[in-house]
């Protein structure tokens, strides 16, 4: 009985997880001349195939489509760039869905259950002078009540004066976070790339799932014909998470030596206590660390109990990106 209940719970969890995926691969046959092919999912979302095929060219492409696994309805194929009047149009035909099994299916349930990366908000810098300008505009407008056209001019001037008082900070938090979730006993690890509004699929990631927050965000995939596998997904106002599987790097990371990458902001949890170090150099043994506060909450939650946990950030990388590793069993 217990086994049946467990099986049911796992099945429900699997369905729930699968239902979140917004990247399902569709095979599409293109016969030139075509350009601006759009695959629209009934109920929301689309994939735009960028580029064109000349007359006589034929290609079958596999592109991500924001359809959920539970949907079997084929995408609607249309064109948003008209051909010249004297051109005989080619065609684009949906051939079918590719694959069915989640690329994360092989991962251990513990790895799959770990928390997603958190993306910091980008707070706007609104000068407190803006409120002063607003109040001044109110007083001036009230004073000019008998001369409303002058008051209107004052309102326009105040509106213009407010413009420089709102600024977007040049550098706030990480715009893109990559989190490698691993376990020394596992061969396959989980990788999650997270970004706001738009995410580009890394070149070394071929099979993935796309999750969004909010879950029903309107997703548009862009698939260039010129560079296959250079896909990007866009969902305005949403957080995007690209989950994939990567090879485990457990052998390169041991207490005796770091063969993985230079790390900074290192935390090690042992017997329930977090110890922090500022850096772990390449090839150096794990630093002793000092008792300190826990790492950021999203990194320290949903972790297995009773095993050592290493959390560290890789040094360097492009601006406004952060790459973390979260390893259990070190």
């Amino acid at each position: 009985m217990r086994a049946v209940v467990t099986l049911c719970v796992w099945t429900l969890c699997a369905v729930a997880v699968a239902a979140q995926n917004r990247a399902r691969f569709a095979d599409v046959e293109l016969v030139g001349p075509v350009r601006g092919v759009v695959l629209t999912i009934p109920g929301g979302g689309e994939t735009r195939i960028e580029g064109e095929l000349e007359r006589g060219e034929t290609r079958v492409v596999s592109v991500p489509v924001p359809a959920q696994a539970s949907t079997n309805a084929p995408p609607l194929v249309s064109f948003d760039e008209p051909l010249a009047l004297d051109e005989t149009p080619g065609r684009a035909r949906f051939l079918g869905w590719r694959g069915g099994l989640s690329p994360l299916a092989d991962l251990s349930p513990g790895l799959r259950a770990r928390a997603r990366p958190a993306l910091e908000e980008t707070p706007l810098a609104i000068s407190s002078a803006a409120l002063v300008v607003l109040l001044t505009a109110l007083v001036v407008t009230l004073a000019l009540k008998r001369r409303p056209w002058l008051a209107l001019v004052a309102g326009v001037v105040a509106s213009a004066a407010l413009y420089p008082l709102v600024a977007k900070p040049a550098e706030v938090g990480a715009a893109r976070v990559t989190l490698i979730d691993g376990d020394t006993a596992q061969d396959s690890w989980r990788r999650i790339d997270a970004a706001r509004d738009e995410i580009v699929v890394p070149r070394d990631v071929h099979e993935f799932e796309l999750w969004t927050e909010p879950a029903d965000a309107l997703v548009t995939w862009f698939a260039p014909l010129a560079n296959e596998n250079e896909w990007r997904a866009r969902a305005r106002g949403a957080r995007l998470f690209l989950a994939s599987r990567c090879a485990g790097a457990g052998l390169t990371l041991a207490r005796t030596g770091n063969g993985y990458a230079p790390l900074d902001s290192v935390w090690l949890r042992e017997e329930g206590e977090w110890r922090a170090s500022s850096a772990w150099e390449l090839d150096a043994p794990l630093p002793q660390g000092r008792p300190a506060g826990a790492p950021p909450g999203w990194l320290a939650s949903h972790l297995p109990q009773g095993v050592p946990i290493l959390i560290a950030r890789e040094c360097g990388g492009p601006a406004r990106t952060a790459r973390w590793i979260r390893l259990s069993g070190l």
Partner: protein, 205 residues
């Protein structure tokens, strides 16, 4: 308090409601269009039926002068937050158009009692009641009774207030041009012009 005094007080209250969110932490309203947030109190206030005699058209310019700075600040915040320029222009342009049209229509209608009453009925039904009723049904009863009736949804889509509320979410998919609300504002303005004619006729007699 006379009609003009009440009008200034009302405008100040609308100004306060419109500007107050800017005094709070910006993160409190993360994900919301600040221009739409600033515009909602004004759109609700501008079309409010006026007392007979409160028909000075110069007051429209005065109200817009008060409304402009909070709307502009909201628009600058939206733009800095990453909203596309056409979207920001659409929201602020529509807000300004609604405020001008509704304020003008309310003041024109205040010249004749009968027309003012007609204006008040149309304003109350289509600008306020329809979207409030539709929102109440959708928020409170959708899970039990399904979505709002089609006729109510159509009536609600006419409301400038409803349209502006739909623009609140920055990732809103409802960035359609507000044709229907503009038509309603036009109808209200035509009703207002009816009062102008009626008052001219009365003066002639």
């Amino acid at each position: 308090m006379n009609a003009r005094g009440a009008s200034v007080l009302g405008a100040c209250v609308a100004w306060f409601l419109s500007a107050a969110p800017f005094a709070l932490d910006a993160q409190t309203f993360a994900g919301l269009s600040r221009a739409a947030l600033a515009a909602i109190p004004w759109i609700a206030y501008c079309g409010l039926p006026r007392a007979l005699g409160d028909s000075g058209l110069r007051a429209v310019a005065f109200e817009i002068a008060l409304f402009l700075p909070p709307l502009a600040l909201g628009t600058w915040i939206d733009l800095a937050g990453g909203m596309a320029r056409p979207e920001a222009a659409s929201i602020s342009g529509a807000a300004l158009g609604f405020a001008c049209g509704l304020s003008l229509s309310a003041r024109l209608a205040a010249r004749a009692a009968f027309v003012r009453d007609a204006h008040a009925v149309v304003w109350a039904l289509f600008v306020v009641l329809a979207p409030v009723l539709a929102a109440t049904l959708v928020l409170g009863g959708a899970s039990t009774f399904g979505s709002a009736p089609t006729w109510l949804a159509h009536a609600s889509s006419l409301s400038p207030l409803g349209w502006m509320c739909a623009q609140l979410a920055q990732d809103s998919g409802a960035r359609a041009t507000p044709f229907a609300p503009l038509v309603l504002v036009l109808v209200l303005t035509l009703i207002g012009f009816g009062a102008r004619r009626a008052s001219v006729r009365t003066e002639d007699e």
